[in-house]
């Protein structure tokens, strides 16, 4: 067993620098690497490019890096749940590249799997395809999209072991699974670091080979963006 365990978030983020490109898992605030984000704020790395489906909210998630003006460029599919993001984007301080969500996911998967580029129908005929190569396959037009290149991927899992094996819970899986192994160094933080051999080899979502560093995370807030409930006698 190749041991990927590191002591804490400080050790896990050794080597992060300004001007780097980071991938960050999560959908909205669901499954975001809270510990890594806090540490990025503390380290105050500047002018970074962040690949993340969303950009957090004011005061939480990537919103923390935005407030601190650490982000030069965001690559996302859906943004603007926070005012600071909007302000920086409209003022031109922040560069924003909007990418269809499925394309974003596959650009991660392509990087993980060693594919340089892929053809997708998403975005054909829209400004997303501007300047990109297009091609007809079986009468349907496709856009050529390139794999992402990133220095670090920060992902958050439910459980993990020292071998780097990861298991996710619910919809907190999302982009976390696709970003593992898609950057030079993948750092996984887990809610529970379990003993080696306790995860069922049949049900490991990410084999440890895709993870370089893993640590026991702490103080998870796991905020809910849209708390929606039904009433006890509501019929569905």
């Amino acid at each position: 067993m190749i041991n990927k365990k590191v002591k804490n978030v400080q050790e896990a983020l050794q080597g992060v620098e300004s001007n780097m490109t980071f991938m960050l898992g999560g959908f909205g605030l669901c499954g975001i690497p809270e510990n890594a984000i806090s540490e990025l704020v503390k380290r105050n790395v500047r002018d970074v490019t962040c690949i993340s489906n969303n950009a957090g909210v004011d005061g939480f998630g990537l919103g923390l890096l935005l407030e601190n003006k650490q982000i030069k460029k965001m690559i996302s599919s859906y943004v603007g749940e926070n005012d600071e993001f909007e302000r920086q984007m409209l003022s031109g301080e922040l560069e924003v590249e909007l990418t269809p969500q499925g394309t974003l996911a596959e650009k991660c998967r392509a990087a993980q799997a060693g594919f340089p580029a892929f053809y997708t129908p998403a975005g054909y005929g829209t400004e997303v395809a501007d300047g990109k190569e297009t091609r007809d396959f079986d009468g349907k037009m496709h856009v050529l999209e390139a794999a992402f290149k990133a220095d670090f991927a920060f992902v958050k899992a439910w459980k993990g072991d020292a071998a780097g094996n990861l298991v996710f819970k619910g919809t907190a899986r999302n982009f976390n699974q696709n970003m593992c192994g898609a950057a030079t160094i993948t750092v996984a933080e887990v809610e529970e670091l379990v003993e080696i051999g306790t995860l069922d080899p049949n049900n490991i979502h990410i084999p440890g080979i895709f993870v370089q560093r893993i640590f026991q995370g702490k103080d998870y807030e796991k905020r809910i963006e849209q708390r929606t409930v039904r009433y006890p006698n509501e019929s569905i």
Partner: protein, 217 residues
């Protein structure tokens, strides 16, 4: 004339037994509440869940179980969770049978615009571009006209496109329209709405053939 719930109810009639359905944010989300009980349907959400159920009871919310609108949800027996790439494999691979989403504009050739208004804050396309590029059965839920009374059922879209030639049906507060052969074909009128009202509210080519029934709600 229909309200938002009326539009959702009418669209719910389009959902067939055995359909996997992806619902967009807004009116489409409401459709789930009005699907007939005697058919089997599964709802897919692009953030990685198949087999979505209703909202949880208070106290049972789980931050790790949300839909694409970031709302807390529950799952039904037979549900599954998966990663984003697999989720879009379902969408791009045409395994989802029906996509229901909102729009700012729809054109008579099936173009749709729903993600960007130049000069305004842009929130992004999310999964909409992937959905409209691959789905073969796309129903748009929208108001026939904007707040200034201008038609959103157009000859050509004026806003940046989300997808080209993809919309198959539009259900508005006034009518059900089928989109084919570069025209909107009027299928049904909303309760109490005349053909003339629909005609006046439609900028795109409107085909009115035969008797146009009122919607059965």
């Amino acid at each position: 004339m229909l309200d938002k719930i009326g539009i959702a109810k009418r669209i719910a009639q389009e959902v067939q037994d055995g359909f996997y359905v992806n619902l967009g944010i807004g009116i489409p989300t409401l459709v789930a509440n009005y699907v007939r009980n005697d058919i089997e349907v599964e709802f897919q959400s692009e953030n990685g869940v198949l087999g979505m159920g209703p909202f949880p009871f208070e106290g049972a919310e789980d931050a790790d179980i949300i839909n694409a609108g970031k709302q807390t949800i529950t799952t039904l027996p037979g549900a599954s969770f998966f990663d984003s790439a697999t989720s879009f494999s379902m969408i791009r691979g045409k395994h989802v049978d029906l996509t229901i989403l909102g729009a700012m504009e729809v054109a008579e050739n099936g173009d749709i615009a729903n993600w960007k208004i130049p000069g305004k804050m842009v929130k992004g396309m999310g999964g909409a571009m992937d959905l409209v590029a691959s789905a073969e059965n796309i129903i748009v839920a929208m108001m026939h006209a904007n707040k200034r009374g201008e038609s959103k059922i157009l000859k050509t879209c004026s806003l940046p496109l989300t997808g080209v030639g993809c919309v198959t049906k539009v259900v508005t507060n006034l009518a059900v329209l089928e989109v084919r052969d570069n025209a909107f074909h009027l299928l049904e009128r909303a309760p109490g709405v005349s053909i003339e009202e629909i005609q006046n509210a439609t900028e795109g080519t409107l085909i009115i053939a035969g008797e146009i029934p009122e919607m059965k709600m």
